[in-house]
Amino acid sequence: MELIDQRTKKIMEECKVRARDAGLSFDNETLEYIVTNKDMVDLSPKVMIPTLYDYWVHDVEVLKGHGKYKLYPNNPYETVINSRPAISFYNDNNPDWMNIMIFYHVLAHIDFFQNNKMFENTWNDDFVGKALADKRLIANLRSEHGRWVDYVIEFSRSIDNIVGYFDYISALNYNTKLDPTAAITFYFDVFLQEIVKVPGHEIFKEIERYNNLRDSNKEQAESLFFSEVKSKYPEFQAKFEKHSNKREKEFVDVLQFIHDNSPFLRKESNSWMKLVMNVVRNTSLYFQPQIRTKIINEGWASYWHDKLFRSDPRIAGHEIGYAKLNAGVTALRRVGLNPYAIGLRLIEHVENLANKGQISRDFQVLDSFQAKENFDRKTGKGQETIFELRKHFSDFTLINSYVSQDFVDEHNLFVVGQHLDQSRNVIQYYVKSRKAADYKKMLIDSLYHPPRISVNKAKTSDENLYMVHHFEGKQLIQQFVPDTLLGLEFLWGGQVQLETTDIVVQKPQNQNEKPKYELRKVLYTIKDKKVTKQNL
């Protein structure tokens, strides 16, 4: 692996100037490497990060093909590595014009990495450098503990898709001052609604009373407010105290919880395992934002490579070559999902809406189709808005907010269905739905979404780790549950339990009926490497 030559680097630097002028912002330092096919052989198992720790599974064929992305919080072959400085990879025989276009694409990715809030946890990291330190750490541990290091890596990786990324990221900027006090929260959220069960209008009355008090006397408001509450509900204080004793923050992040609380890891001789777990957890956390911004990130980069390269005089003479390459990447496919195409069009759609002032209440309250169609305030806010979009949005929020019927109609999008024509032995693809709701659902269903599993602290002790899977309409892959529990039992050093929900399919009696699904709560228990399962 070697750096690009000085001449090409100069081209990159020129691209940076133009990209900055257009409003993109990124660190000045970047590294560009030429990669050969042989380099790819080494890099690809390591998610393109040359310094990632060694692990034997990297050398074996792992479950191939479809659904793979569900297992791993990363995209295996990225051109740009979100590190400081950012690293990107190039073929050694690209023509200059192609490199210019790719440089713009890369710079937009770097801009996205360094400005999108989802990546906030990676902003201070030289990840490649950190990975190198981790790699050395693991190599050192391996010389001391041999293959046991690999077991700890393996067992930690078995829950590296449940690392509490969103909790982590939301805590980064959370302003606790905005929270009402514990007593107020309890009174309105729990006491009135669940304990006394007063009707809704009385709750609103109470809220109004509280707000009025605050307006007149901010300092004293709460004590004044509660003096009346206590006379009306003498039991309040006792209930509140009981509640706050019981209520502790539930840990969502199973990996971290085990790291902090496992009696097995507490032992002096096992403390090195925690280091390994940290490496696995941090590596996973690092990749989390990337897989949740695939569409918006590729859309953003495609938007800018197109805009910047077409206004760059160096395109002269290569317009056709560019058009061909660009279309190959960003054209909507007749059948198939393409993150470049969908992302680019959504960003353009938002820009267009904002330019007309349509992202506003004034527009939303219109009910006449005609009035909506003609609504154009010519605000020119498009650019500004998409920069905001790039700062705050992820794939999910982008799709959920902006895939509308207008968007679907504008680009002639539809959900494809397929059925088999038995007589001719061909699969037929057909237009299944052109409804925005169906299209949106299809997009969202195809996004990365690991299960949400947390530790139930009340039921957890040194002898028993009790986890709860929060059911979201899909059961866990059952075949993997026992093996995963086995690793967790090792890390916890005792019994481990998982509460989850199975879907039991009831075959319909009549072939025309749809099968019925029954949800069944089950509890897996592993003790001494024996897994049992019981209904709850």
């Binding site: 990669v35 096919n37 052989v41 198992p45 034997w56 074996v60 064929e61 792992v62 191939k64 479809h66 992305y69 569900k70 297992l71 072959y77 990225e78 051109t79 990879f89 790719i102 293959r147 393996e154 078995s158 590296d160 590729e298 909507l332 007749r334 059948v335 198939g336 999902l337 993150p339 470049y340 195409a341 999008l413 539809f414 959900v415 397929q418 088999l420 038995q422 032995n425 061909v426 699969i427 693809y429 057909y430 237009v431 739905s433 052109r434 169906d438 299809m442 195809s446 990365y448 299960p451 899909k474 059961q475 866990l476 892959i477 059952q478 993997f480 093996d483 995963t484 086995l486 749809k514």
Partner: protein, 458 residues
């Protein structure tokens, strides 16, 4: 097809079927009609693209992600197994999985490949349960809802491909055989299956001869070209003279004398083919899905294990049946044939008996029979079947029956086949010859399948 099924159905109706049996038959006939939907399910996995399949390296610079590291591709199973053995010593289950069978992609000739693979178990969502209808994918362009916008050739039906002549059949059989041999190696090491030899064979399998089979590097009597080439390729990969996805010329390869592998004279066991193994399975409509999966997997394991244990010296025959029985030429066809019509068990055994008789196999061979079914039999009184089985047991050294029950069959309920066999008393009468193992086919672990084999050959 359905006309024919109706015909048979009516024939059985005349015999005063119980309501339950009628339901079973109707269920199966419906299953055949629903083949279309099932086929669709079968085909859909292959073509769908996901957002995460795309990446810049491919999109802009046409980097093809490398398949596998060349050196590790040359790694033998033994090295992987060695590593896995250590896991077991440390008290964790093995991670290298039994080989998977990969279907052909381009040619219509079937090739079975064993790929050692591993999985990383994690908690993650299972889409397969509730998504009865395919969730669809994205598309763009003209067309009303319901319009067909394109077609694609579905996977060729096995057996329909061209050139299934004898020559081709043989070569693909060879492929299965050598791969199955590798697979068999894993199984015996992993599960220590009992040797058939201990089962009271008529003659000993072993006598010794001297042959050029031991390998030696550097010198010897006869050059082992295949092994030499392997080493040669490996050396040249390491020297960077062979690169992935690039053509190379043998002229550029360096030959290290140490890479030459020779065979030298050694004492060898000499095997004579003395056993015929018949594999029979039900491929009727109700077998769709899990039961077929279970039976074919189990039979693959048995087959592989035989290949290994007897060094490719076992003769194998394959018979499929729905309402009719047919013999198929090789394991691949046996393994991959799609489900067909209704179920009558007796014809399969009849066909086998006929083959044995015509070829007088019982004179020279030990005869083993493995049969897999979901337990349905339209011929519910089973008289015909029991008669046929009795005849089979006159010559068979072992008849092993696996009943892979469908998920909708209650655990406790004995299926028609089970019932008939139990009622016949053959299980007790000929306990040394006849073994039966029943399980619900859904979600069966590899261990359970192996346990089943143990039971069948115990």
């Amino acid at each position: 097809m359905s006309k024919y099924l109706n015909h048979i159905f009516e024939k059985y109706l005349n015999r005063e079927l119980s309501e339950q049996d009628k339901a079973v038959i109707l269920n199966e006939m419906q299953a055949c009609k629903n083949l279309e939907a099932i086929e669709q399910e079968y085909n859909k996995a292959s073509s769908k693209t996901s957002f995460y399949d795309f990446h810049d390296l491919l999109a802009f610079q046409q980097f093809i992600p490398p398949g596998m590291d060349l050196i590790s591709a040359l790694k033998t199973l033994d090295e992987l197994l060695e590593q896995d053995k250590k896991r077991e010593e440390d008290g964790f289950p093995r991670r290298i999985r039994l080989g998977k069978l990969v279907r052909p992609s381009k040619t219509d000739k079937g090739k079975v490949v064993v790929v050692p693979s591993t999985t990383e178990p994690k908690f993650y969502h299972d889409d397969s349960v509730t998504e009865e209808e395919e969730s669809g994918e994205g598309g763009a362009g003209e067309g009303e809802e319901g319009d067909v916008i394109g077609e694609q050739q579905a996977q060729p039906q096995p057996g329909e491909g061209e050139g299934q002549g004898a020559g081709e059949g043989d070569s693909s059989d060879h492929d299965v055989t050598s791969e199955a041999y590798d697979l068999g190696k894993i199984i015996t090491e992993k599960f220590s299956l009992p040797n058939l030899k201990d089962k009271g064979k008529k003659r000993s399998f072993t006598k010794y001869t001297y042959d050029l089979t031991d390998r030696n590097r550097g010198f010897g009597q006869i050059l082992d070209k295949k092994a030499t080439l392997r080493r040669l390729v490996k050396t040249n990969i390491m020297l960077g003279r062979i690169k992935q996805n690039e053509p190379f010329s043998p002229d550029n390869m360096l030959l290290n004398p140490q890479d030459m592998v020779f065979r030298i004279l050694s004492r060898e066991k000499d095997f004579e083919t003395q056993a015929v193994v018949f594999f029979l399975r039900d491929y009727s409509g109700s077998m769709q899905g899990d039961p077929t999966q279970l039976v074919t997997t189990q039979h693959l394991l048995i087959y592989s294990w035989l290949m290994y244990q007897y060094q490719n010296n076992v003769v194998t025959r394959f018979i499929l049946h729905d309402t009719e029985a047919k013999e198929v030429p090789d394991f691949y066809t046996y393994y991959s044939s799609q489900v067909a019509g209704g179920t009558r068990v007796a014809p399969a055994f009849k066909l086998m008996n006929k083959i044995v008789e015509e070829e007088q196999l019982q004179v020279d061979y030990n005869i083993y029979v493995f049969y897999g079914t979901d337990g349905d039999d339209w011929d519910s009184d089973g008289k015909e079947l029991i008669e046929t089985l009795k005849q089979t047991l006159t010559f068979a050294n072992r008849l092993g029956i696996t009943v892979a029950k469908n998920a909708w069959t209650p655990d406790s309920k004995t299926t028609t086949v089970e019932k008939n066999i139990i009622d016949s008393g053959l299980l007790k009468e000929r306990a040394d010859l006849l073994k039966m193992d029943a399980m619900v086919a859904t979600g069966v672990s590899e261990e359970r399948i192996i346990e089943g084999i143990k039971k069948l050959v115990s």
